[in-house]
Structure formats: structure tokens, C-alpha cells
Symmetry: C2
Subunit: 228 residues, 2 copies
DNA sequence: TAGATTGTTAATCGATTAACAATC
DNA sequence: TAGATTGTTAATCGATTAACAATC
């Protein structure tokens, strides 16, 4: 086996990688981590693709957006590809996270192990309810919303999760933006607008169920594929 | 204003509506419901699109998959379009839901109001921990996994939410399938395989954060759009 | 009527797949 | 070596956008 090539070609990171490619990248990473746990050293675009219902060509094309990570005739070394994808996704380091809204969902996200496994650390929680401020939940201190700018700065927080009611979502978004946050994961069932320099990902849990009810109700008989 | 046209053309519901179209349909519904709450009677493809960052042509094309819902020169009646989209998505009626896994996330989903607002009722919860069985959480009774077939049948449940650890996801999936479930919303960070006649939607919360860290870390300066 | 807006067709754009030389 | 598999180009496929006659 020759020298690892794993150099990341970020010349084209600026030239618009399709969103779908990035989301498949996360899926590849998840599968590779499972393979690693099963002590598998190498894999191929064919194997990786078939685990997720994609073609081998798609796997190779997706990776090609970012560089050359494989060995012709051999495939990919799982550990190398994991590191490469983590570097691309930015999860080769830890991300301190602010969580806004300590309702049902907020508390669940505070305790969610899956975040920590990928390097996401919820280090501060915020709520407008004065009764909750000062508490420590799952080891995470709860602050007043007014403290956002100070806490965000002192803890080096760049990402925020919004788990507030729809009605409060835009105001909460404005506050986190004001505090210097660079990216927002919005769980409120509400479209929010942010300055264009702040990244936004939205997850609406009811919408996910709607996708399912549509598929079941209209029973379009397609091959089973996991959308994420 | 002429006769409402709202007939749903389900001849093509069998000819593969793209998944992206259905997910935009849910977003249109969400915006329309907000417009209705603001007492707006009609809207246009241009308005609806601009609320979500889509073109007017896309809105009209998406709706055209399912029928004719608008009035040339006028636009769309919000209430009519809400009813039409709900009928398409299958949320014009209630869906009793089974929730499997009463950990942190499971409990949060039990109490999540957003589901109920769209007609999704979690009517039974399941857990493998005997200590939890028999409890009633947020008004929802907790059963043993073995009771799945019986409860699913007696309550007419067709959809299940999986909120179990990754390691337990495939086994849980097999159990709900065995009990006759027709659709699965999987929150476990794990690819699961189901018989092709059972629909699957997957949501991996860590992956959503990865999409965000990628966007922030690589700071590709695109216009702010909400992925869902 | 004139202005607005739909539904739909045709043109454009982008993403996926197939194919294959290069490599191990 | 022969067999396997990559990275990449060209061909295909599908989705988005533009344009416009029909309609209110």
C-alpha cells in the first residue's frame, strides 16, 4: 500500500458543494465509524454505497469534491477516511454549543449522548423563565437570555440550538445572532430569517412525520431508502 | 371568485413524486397555517415562495404534481390550500403513533406539542426496561416491547417513532415491523433496514449539527436558506 | 378593461450514473 | 500477472426556471 494521499483540496470548498453531498458525507462517516467499531480496516465505494442505498459512482464522486482519499485496487482505509471526513465537516475538533430553550425538547437535547460522540458539547443553556436560571441540568448551567453575549464570548461558542416555541423563535434567533453566533440549528416549527453570514439548518419534527404519513398514505411503492 | 377547483389528481401519486417536492409541501403548509393565523385570506406562489426562498415557478410546479388549487389572477385561498395539502400529506385525519424507547429523547417526544398540532397522537410508548413498564408519562401508557403486536392492533397504530440507542435500533425496527407497523421515523444514529413495503424516514440529530459545522467551518457564502 | 396570477410547456441547469484508463 | 478499485470524464437523467397563453 502506497503513501496515503489524504490531502484535502479546499480550493473548491468555495465553489459551492451541493448540500446533498454534505449530508451524504455525514452518512458515510456514520457507516465508517460502525465499520471501525467492527474492526474493519478497509472498505470500498461499492460497500459504502450499498450500506446506504447509493451507487459506488456516487460515493466516489461525492468524495472527489474534497480530494483523493482512496487507493486504486484497494479501496479506502476506514480510519483515514473517518479522519478526512471529520476534517471536512469540521468535527475534527470540539464545538461548544449554546442551547436556547429548556422545555421538553431542550432538556432532552441537553442529555443527548449522540452530540458528544461527534464532538458537540452543549456548554451553556438559556431560558427566559427566571425560575430556571441558575439551575444546572445534566451538568450544564442555565443562564438568562440577557447573558448570551457574555457567555458566548467567554466560552468561545459559535453554534446555537434553538428549542423554543415557534412564537419565540425569531426573537431568540435575533438574540443569538446579536451575541455573535455563526450557525443556528432551529427546532422551532417556524421559518426564521438570519443575516446571510449566519448559517441556518432547520429541523421540524412534525414535518418529518408528515413525510412518513404521506409515504404511507399514498403508498408509493419505491425501494426502501433512508432519507437521512 | 369562481368555483374552487381543489380536486386532487391522484392518478400520478403512483408515478413517483420526488421526495423534495413532498418536503417543500410541508413547508408550504406551515407557512399557510401562519398566514391563516394572521387572518390572511389569499396568497400567491410569489409570496409563498419568497417566504421560503423558492421561486414562484417552483411553488406552482410542486402543487401541479397533485392537482389545480389556485385561481388565475387571484392566487390561492389559504384555507383551501391548507386543506388540500393536508389531504395530500395524509394529515387531514389523526394518526395514532407508537413511540419506542423512553430515554431522554423519547420522553421529550412524548411531550412535544408540535406533533399534536398536525394530528399526530402518541398513544402508546414501549420500553425494554421493566421498571418503566406500567407507568403513564404525559398521559401515555408505557408497555413492554412484547405487547407491541397487541397494542398496535387494538389502537390502530400505523406509524412508529424509534428513539432507542443505535445498538438497539435494528432489533426495535424488526419488532415494530413484526407488529404490522407501516412507517418508521428513526431517531437512532444508525442505518436500519426494513422490508420494502414499510416506509422509513431517518433523522440523525448529530448529522444536522454536522451540516451546520461544515457550513460554518467552510463558510461557503451562500444566501441563507432554511433546509427544512 | 388592464393588471395579476395561474397551470403548463420548453429551455436550462445541475446531479447522478456509466464507462474506462490509471493504479495497486 | 490478473483482479480489484480508484478518480474522472462523458452521457444520461431529473429537477428547476423562464416564458406565456389562459383566466379571473
Amino acid at each position: 500500500m502506497a503513501e496515503p494521499k489524504g490531502k484535502i483540496d479546499d480550493t473548491n470548498s468555495e465553489s459551492a458543494v451541493p448540500k446533498a453531498v454534505v449530508s451524504r458525507l455525514s452518512l458515510y462517516l456514520r457507516e465508517l465509524q460502525h465499520l471501525l467499531r467492527d474492526s474493519q480496516e478497509t472498505t470500498s465505494s461499492t460497500q459504502l454505497g450499498s450500506m446506504l442505498g447509493f451507487t459506488d459512482a456516487q460515493v466516489r464522486k461525492d468524495l472527489a469534491y474534497f480530494g483523493q482519499f482512496g487507493y486504486p485496487g484497494i479501496g479506502y482505509r476506514c480510519d483515514e477516511l473517518v479522519h478526512a471526513i471529520k476534517r471536512i465537516l469540521g468535527t475534527d475538533r470540539d464545538w461548544p454549543i449554546a442551547l436556547v430553550g429548556i422545555g421538553n425538547l431542550g432538556r432532552a437535547l441537553l442529555g443527548y449522548r449522540g452530540f458528544g460522540e461527534q464532538g458537540f458539547r452543549v456548554v451553556a443553556a438559556f431560558d427566559s423563565d427566571p425560575q430556571k436560571v441558575g439551575a444546572v441540568i445534566e451538568g450544564v448551567p442555565v443562564y438568562a437570555a440577557e447573558d448570551l453575549p457574555q457567555v458566548v464570548k467567554s466560552k468561545g461558542i459559535r453554534l446555537a440550538i434553538l428549542a423554543v416555541p415557534a412564537i419565540a423563535a425569531q426573537a431568540a434567533a435575533d438574540q443569538v445572532v446579536q451575541s455573535g453566533i455563526e450557525g443556528v440549528l432551529n427546532f422551532a416549527p417556524m421559518t426564521i430569517t438570519l443575516p446571510k453570514e449566519v448559517r441556518l439548518v432547520g429541523v421540524d419534527l412534525a414535518i418529518e412525520l408528515e413525510q412518513l404519513s404521506f409515504a404511507v398514505a399514498s403508498r408509493n411503492p419505491k425501494p426502501c431508502d433512508e432519507s437521512i
